[in-house]
Amino acid sequence: MASEKLFGASIKRREDPRLITGKGTFVDDVRIPGTTFAAFVRSPHAHAKIARIDATAAKKLKGVVAVYTGKDLVDGGVKPIPVGWLIPGIKIPARNPLAVDRARYMGEAVAVVIADSPYTARDAAELVEVDYQPQPVVADAAKAVQPGAPAVHDEAKDNVSFKWQIGDKAATDKAFAGAAKVVKQSFRNHRLIPNAIEPRSALASANPGTGDITLWLTTQNPHVHRLIMSAFVLGLPEHKLRVISPDVGGGFGSKIFVYPEECVVTWASKALSRPVKRTAERRESFLTDAHGRDHYSDAEMALSADGKILGLRVKTIANMGAYLSLFAPCIPTYLYGTLLAGAYTTPAIHCDVTAVFTNTTPVDAYRGAGRPEAVYLLERMVDLAAQELGMDPIALRRKNFIPKEKFPYQTPVALVYDSGNYEGALDKALESFDYRAFRKEQEQARKQGKYLGVGFSTYVEACGLAPSQVAGALGAQAGLYESATVRVHPTGKVTVFTGSHSHGQGHETTFAQVAADELQVPIEDVEIVHGDTGQVPFGMGSYGSRSGPVGTAALYMGAQKIKDKAKKIAAHLLEAADADVVYEGGKFSVKGSPGRSKTWGDVTLMAYLAHNMPKGLEPGLEAISFFDPGNFVFPFGTHVCVVEVARDTGQVKVLRYLAVDDLGRVINPMIVDGMVHGGIAQGLSQALWEHAEYDENGQLITGSFMNYAMPHADDLPNFQVGRTETPSPVNPLGIKGAGETGTIASTAAVANAVMDAIAPFGIRHVDMPLTPDRLWEALRGR
């Protein structure tokens, strides 16, 4: 019965057979008889007073069931969507699911039409007349903090939601005062749109008989949605709302947050006693899914003459959009400023952040969330410092790396790194990339008018979001543990209920690998259930690369409880002392008497027959564990990018991309490689193409796949990925988290490569995205 060791095996995914045959169940695939369909009326203006809404014509259309405005919802008891992370002094203007008297970004919902078909709902939405009175607009964060800028909210006339800082300012000032070299640069980390290919969707079905409501929802964290929607927005009893997130088509952060649409749909289903469904059109996704990034930063790095980093000073303006999205306040703060030490021994760091309202879509976590912004800034600064000191960028990195014997390592920006070997990852990357040969090739190529460049990103990131106590002290209004329930059935088959959520990560495979190993049962006997508050007791969901380091650790702990109880039952049946029973190869046997044994099935059956149980032991074989780790985990690595920039057109061609990541121990290398590939694609694409752009009137001018540059297959190179393995001491499986490293590391590697390529023209820095027109403009006349 014993399974082979599955941890570390690239077994094929168990979820794939349904997904490759069209038998997946995504939210929009769920069908309930009698369903009505919602279509939202959205503000075409970035900022406008809503003087009047006239739904007379819409209501007359055949098939229309109801039209609701913001006022109707307020009258119906619907409260604003809360913010789940608080910073001292923060201003949190009310965000009603439907705007009540003012719309503050293009696309903000002001009314909803519910009809018997989606086509009719859309027809009727067009008939809703809204009398908008346009107001002055500010879309750019740097402009929003200028005196006299239009105020997005009356309660924040200066458009500042909060100010935040980290690090020792006096020590940093002192480091700069004594420095031989100070390197300065301003950076724009531009706005991105997540664009999971499955648009957000919600189907709420109220049961008027029981008062229960079931909500099928595209969410990365169904329990978080249930808690916030029931307790804060809709005033429903938490236990009467069930949130199911079946197959979810990508998230990248954008499906963490509670959005207006699911609140409206759920409320309307209750009000109408009918199922109500809404699936976003892509244009709505562009306008309403939480965006990512959008920083302006001024950075200064102090160095000794021989290249030792002495201090780093960063001032950042972060664009929060028109309202604070659920976890937005922690992104440009605790997931950004704390990462500015990177892989280096920089002794003094100070970071100052101003979070600003603008008339744009709210900004929140997008893959990496704060960490890509920090890594980009730091790794660009390291390259600029090397350039200014006339040092090799690798030599400067090596000189400043935290040595592997210094872990756990306390940085000057609050974090304590768990484990690391930064030189090891760099060395491994350089085994596959002949740096000296490249520099020679580069020199030769330049003579022929061909401009090659190499960029490095020797990043560190913090993920596996936890521990709860620390998060709470820093402002989180939630715990950051994870739960797993392990249910062993009488026949020995196993169902695991995890609070982690898979929206592409392959939990049905990786979690089953861990469970099968720990319980020593065939993987075919293990079922993984996630994404249903009706089945899973509780969970915080998946984001911040936490399923591996937190979610599977909870499962591991639960499995130990199962084994402990099973051993007690086996010991009783074998008439042996508990301590003398060993469980190996799917058999319980007595130490020293290998002939005396009971199988897994003998014991699981007895747990439910309960005919012959140890005295005082309850029947059944089920355990729940909540794992709350003592720290984040800290993946790291070296990414290398080689590009060619066309002198005459500014076109960038990525010739090679190599990543060596250290993600601790890896459950399924094939799945982890896949996540790294996808992450690199997103980060690379930020460096070169993707850009969410607003005009001065707050109109999103990149509002569809026609003008927002998503990477296609023919835009990208083949990515070469490798690993080193430094286990994390933070969780029992030694896992570091793998979901975001690609995105966090790659943007800087690509940007550094492009800048290296055009360095001969005396160009120091060009802000991303490094599109042909920007590079052509920079190269023109040089």
Partner: protein, 153 residues
């Protein structure tokens, strides 16, 4: 309303539809073939790709009435007698999918690509799939899957 007959996965389906109903909605909402997905509204993402008389088309940019009398293959019709199509098998073997939402369209585009060019090189595979967006995989393993499927044919 118009009466139309479309052969879908080998079965003649006759239905009354509004002339404005898109083929993808006909498949999903009228025939309950929900394997064909909708990922955009500008015919860029390719999630809704189906085969129309063997050619890959975006079913969001055709009206159902336009394909009257023709044959449509959706992802549900690709496997035969319980055996996966070589392209499906290759996507599974090579980990060519993560969330799986773009996958049906991607697989059908790959089928058409291989029908046109049975042994494409990597550049041709990438060019052949440029009408389908995937946000999860970075396309690395999708390319590998198409290479495997090409060898299997």
């Amino acid at each position: 309303m118009s009466s139309i007959t479309i052969n879908v996965n080998g079965v003649a389906e006759t239905r009354e539809v509004e002339p404005r109903v898109l083929l993808v909605h006909f498949l999903r909402d009228v025939l309950s073939l929900t394997g064909t997905h909708v990922g955009c509204d500008t015919s860029q993402c390719g999630a809704c790709t189906v085969l129309l008389d063997g050619a890959a088309v975006k079913s969001c940019s055709l009206f159902a009435v336009q394909v009257e009398g023709r044959s449509v293959t959706t992802i549900e019709g690709l496997a035969s007698n319980g055996k996966l199509h070589p392209v499906q098998q290759a996507f599974w073997d090579q980990h060519g999918l993560q969330c799986g939402f773009c996958t049906p369209g991607m697989i059908l585009s790959a089928c058409e690509l291989l029908a046109r060019n049975p042994s494409p090189n990597e550049t041709q595979i990438r060019a052949g799939l440029e009408g389908n967006l995937c946000r999860c995989t970075g396309y690395n393993n999708i390319v590998k899957a198409v290479q495997q499927a090409a060898k299997a044919r």
